[in-house]
């Protein structure tokens, strides 16, 4: 239930988003961003697991992840 037991590199996340958006970030947005990222990862892994099970694969494979990537990205399109 608590995937984020450990800290994540806040500065890195900030840099990434800042580079992509070409905007400044307020002080604590990165927490929300990381929260969103965690949700995205959850969705991605869930979809990849479902895809892997449907495809008869054992565990999550790169193929299933790649298949699930497009859908979950579209789902997280604002």
């Amino acid at each position: 239930m608590a995937p984020g037991q450990k800290m994540y590199p806040r500065a890195t996340v900030k840099k990434i988003v800042k580079a992509h958006s070409n905007c400044n970030l307020s002080k604590n947005v990165d927490v929300m961003i990381f929260l969103d990222y965690a949700l995205f990862m959850q969705n991605l892994m869930k979809e990849a697991t479902i895809g892997a099970k449907q495809g008869g694969e054992r565990g999550i494979t790169a193929r299933s992840v790649r298949k699930a990537t497009a859908d979950s990205l579209a789902k997280f399109k604002g």
């Binding site: 995937p3 450990k6 840099k15 992509h20 958006s21 070409n22 990381f34 604002g78």
Partner: protein, 484 residues
């Protein structure tokens, strides 16, 4: 020993054959002898049976001989069984009317006494054979009459032989043959498949696409560099060869030349790529030109993505040195994604973890350990077993890169729409609401409590401006719910 045993052997088969119960003896004999001798001569020459029995004794010992004999017998049975079936059927068909007609004829023809030769003789022989059952009548019957006389007796002789032969032929030779065929073909065909070997190529191509996105603005340049690379791909190895035939330190010299021609100082990827080439060129002098082109292609999939990126840069800077990697990367770019992104061209100077966004800002990628930890926990919660393989992790990292890119675009759009130059929590809340991650029933606080570490939760709660903004902008309804 065999010859001594023959005289009794001569005596027994004749009696058995004449006694018309040849199932055991004749079946053995037929198994032993059949290849050379036909059945016709066997029956009259029953001395020959013992001779064949001699030959059969060594043959039985070897399994291959048995198999061969069984195969022959199976063929013979396959040939002979239809005849037998016909005869039986004909016999069954003929006998029934005869059995009725003969007593009628006898009853009616007592006065006439005129008995035609063909019809009267079988009736006589039947009675005689059933009464006596001797070899003389058999031989006479075999020699004289074709169908009618043989019918009562031949089934007794031929049935057991053919039956056993059929059993053998049905069981053993077919099974063994089928198994052998299946084994050979199935294994040889099934094992090598392309799928595994083809997948990594597609993966790399997929993975390298986005890696080369920040060069995608320069697609024209890349195309030019491709052409030059392809053209020069044939020439410069020859030059290198000439140099190397002259002196033994060719790699160093060529490397220096490339360094001179380069504007950027990053040599790492190139050296790793070409340090392997050089020994090949040293070893053999003239045959190398194709090999030189081959060697980096084989080594290419081993490179990491950032090395590819570096090599693209190198190929752009100097065309002679990095033909093949440039071709690879360019082809992958062309296949996967046309150039959609912006104008900035920034060269990644470090190997990994620095990419360039479309705004020309370098950014590090999220460390894969973090991504892996997150992905693993979510994979476990979603029910997947096993660990995350490096390929999978690569795909996940790629997906997360794209995610951050998309998220940055969206946040930028929201901030610009609000007339700000800074992305604030309100933008993020808007985004999450538009993503339908938060709705009146799931507050971002609940999500944060579920997914974020405690320290971050505290940071989300503690500073006063953030909850204020949240209450103002996004979650007014939630606040009312919370209050009530």
């Amino acid at each position: 020993m065999a010859r001594e045993s023959h005289p009794p052997g001569d005596g027994t088969p004749t009696r058995r054959a004449t006694s018309a119960e040849p199932s055991t003896s004749i079946s053995r004999l037929s198994v032993r002898t059949p290849g050379s001798q036909a059945r016709g001569p066997q029956r009259p020459q029953q001395g020959g049976l013992s001779v064949s029995g001699r030959k059969a004794a060594p043959l039985i010992a070897t399994p291959h001989a048995r198999a061969a004999l069984r195969a022959i017998d199976s063929r013979r049975a396959a040939i002979l069984t239809p005849h037998r079936g016909r005869r039986q059927s004909l016999r069954a068909a003929r006998e029934t009317p005869r059995d009725f007609l003969l007593p009628l004829a006898r009853a009616l023809a007592r006065n006439t006494q005129a008995i035609p030769s063909s019809s009267s003789s079988p009736g006589d022989q039947r009675t005689s054979s059933s009464a006596a059952g001797d070899g003389d009548t058999l031989f006479g019957g075999d020699a004289a009459d074709d169908d009618d006389d043989d019918l009562p007796k031949r089934p007794r002789l031929s049935l057991p032989i053919d039956m056993e032969d059929e059993d053998d032929s049905d069981l053993q030779p077919h099974r063994s043959a089928g198994l052998e065929d299946e084994n050979m073909t199935a294994r040889s065909i099934e094992l090598p498949r392309r799928a595994l070997s083809e997948q990594p190529g597609s993966r790399y191509s997929l993975a390298s696409n986005r890696m080369s996105d920040f060069f995608s603005g320069n697609a024209n340049e890349m195309l030019h560099s491709e052409d030059v690379g392809i053209d020069s791909g044939f020439f410069p190895p020859i030059n290198d060869l000439n140099e190397e035939t002259l002196n033994f330190g060719p790699g160093d010299i060529s490397a220096y030349e490339r360094l001179d021609s380069d504007a950027a100082g990053h040599r790492v990827g190139e050296e790793s790529g070409f340090g392997i080439e050089v020994p090949d060129m040293n070893e053999s002098t003239f045959m190398i030109a194709p090999q030189v082109q081959d060697s980096p292609t084989h080594q290419a999939p081993e490179f990491s993505e950032s090395e590819y990126a570096n090599e693209i840069l190198d190929a752009r800077s100097d065309d002679e040195s990095d033909q093949e990697p440039a071709e690879h990367n360019a082809s992958r770019e062309d296949v996967a994604e046309p150039a959609t992104h912006g104008t900035a061209e920034h060269r990644a100077k470090k190997k990994k973890s620095i990419k360039v966004s479309k705004h020309g800002i370098e950014y590090p990628s999220l460390p894969p350990a973090v991504v892996k930890r997150l992905a693993q926990t979510f994979a476990k919660t979603s029910g997947a077993k096993g660990k995350i393989s490096p390929d999978t992790l690569k795909a996940i990292v790629q997906a997360s890169d794209w995610f951050f890119e998309q998220l940055g675009d969206d946040l930028q759009a929201y901030a610009k729409h609000a007339g700000r130059k800074t992305i604030e929590e309100s933008d993020m809340l808007t985004l999450m609401r538009r993503q339908r991650q938060t709705n009146p029933h799931t507050t971002p606080f609940a999500l944060a409590q579920r997914y974020l570490p405690r320290e971050l939760l505290q940071e989300l709660r503690m500073p006063p401006p953030i909850p204020l903004k949240r209450r103002r902008t996004a979650d007014v309804g939630e606040e009312h719910e919370d209050v009530t």
